[in-house]
Symmetry: C2
Subunit: 320 residues, 2 copies
Amino acid sequence: MARRPVDVPSLVEAARAGSPRAVARLITLVENASPALREVMAALAPYTGTASIIGLTGSPGVGKSTTTSALVRAYREQGKRVGVLAVDPSSPFSGGALLGDRIRLGEHALDPEVYVRSMASRGHLGGLSWATPQALRVLDAAGCEVILLETVGVGQSEVEVAGLADTVMVLLAPGMGDGIQAAKAGILEIGDLFVVNKADRDGADATVRDLRYMISLAEGREAGEWRPVVDKLVAERGEGLEEVLGSIAKHRAWLESSGELGHRRRRRAEDEIEAIAVAQLRSRMGEVDRGEGMTQLAQQVASGELDAYRAADELLAKLP
Amino acid sequence: MARRPVDVPSLVEAARAGSPRAVARLITLVENASPALREVMAALAPYTGTASIIGLTGSPGVGKSTTTSALVRAYREQGKRVGVLAVDPSSPFSGGALLGDRIRLGEHALDPEVYVRSMASRGHLGGLSWATPQALRVLDAAGCEVILLETVGVGQSEVEVAGLADTVMVLLAPGMGDGIQAAKAGILEIGDLFVVNKADRDGADATVRDLRYMISLAEGREAGEWRPVVDKLVAERGEGLEEVLGSIAKHRAWLESSGELGHRRRRRAEDEIEAIAVAQLRSRMGEVDRGEGMTQLAQQVASGELDAYRAADELLAKLP
């Protein structure tokens, strides 16, 4: 299919000037791993590095969308341009995300200062680590001061979100998981801020207490380190939202004063560079012996003639 | 910490002779990515390729452990040596799995012909793809005719199990997800066999009907291709177990007659070789400019001075 070539400089200019269409087009180029992506990223780089990226994760049913919507409203009232990137890692086979971008966050659909985008992570190993940082850069360069990165909390994806955000907010709901469950799921290690949503329900105080207790048990916290905060929220009615916004702002101030912001961003850049480099090396591996190299080695490994380590050595020795 | 060196030939000999301790030790070497792993895998390779690997996945609560236990009992009655590898991808930070190997499948704990092992996938990107195939090879070389590879069905992990097993069994329970849910979760594409467990509960027939309907809608199935089977089971009482065993055997026969078994194993070997090669390349990338290369490039990307693609190019150009 012949497609019209991408005019990258105009597209980047339009995105920076605030065109939602241009932003959407750029993210589509990211999703499709367009050949123009290199040029896009080179053009965007000078304008990136200013957005606050807030990761938002939690099990299905804790109220992530409602909370995201409440946060968007609050930041819009502060006059900030806001980006929302919703990543759905539970949808490995779908090329698109389950919820259309238009029906998500309906109340903000017509606000030109709010960019909402859903992405499926498509079952790629490292799907999130490959495309999501690039999409975040698009939103950052498009002038979003706050980017909400929302993902369903299922194991791996939470850890990946933690790696991509400046501030990680873990949402819980009363009765959906106590402190011990949180500890088992590994989320205690990744959250900068825990928000017990639906806090008007029974058991909210017990969940808050459990979480605070589990956090207090976490060992090895040194002076000057961030101590995770636990807030209550009823996102649907906006109750407790001020406290949550205050906690996010406090974490941001700590990130800046402690040097942790720079540290997190460098680590993130390392992951991004590595992901791109690995993808290129994978493609070179596929070219060994005109594409036949891997097939022949796999045949030998499958038959027990060769072990996978020696096969990997042979493949690497022939790398173009 | 000085550790006694591993006597690989003796260990492999003992595992092949049926020593559960030797099998356990070998899998621990895999989990710890021991330096002896290369030697272990080279020694095991000639004895691999005979086990039937049955993947077993499904959401929490569908009865995976009970079903695994019932299958182990049935294969033991056929006189087969059985391996069980339970991978817990929801436990990214734990070095060990949540359930101890001894308390799992308690009734088989004393049977020397049953090897049971839990592994956590540890939040590695590609955690499952790295260590699990090696652990499967250990069990295969140790003479297990059947290996049950059990994992909690959460998005990515199901897809990975599908890539590692000869036969993929997806467990469901009535009322826990109808056909449409299955379609959304992407499991229709990966299952060779769907088992509706707890089939004595209300709604079992409706779930079976939904699944069969969704399968019938799947397009592009050609003559000679496998058509996924839907069976009912009450694993706790063994009701329907004969049918499930029959379906597994039928799928196995089809795998062999169609050539698909060889195809799946070659594809699996490709993934394994690639995972090992990528791990080695990652380690080489970490050595660029005596370990400083990545840090400097990441600093430039974080500051917007350089984009991640050009940084990746520079890194690859310096690869030792």
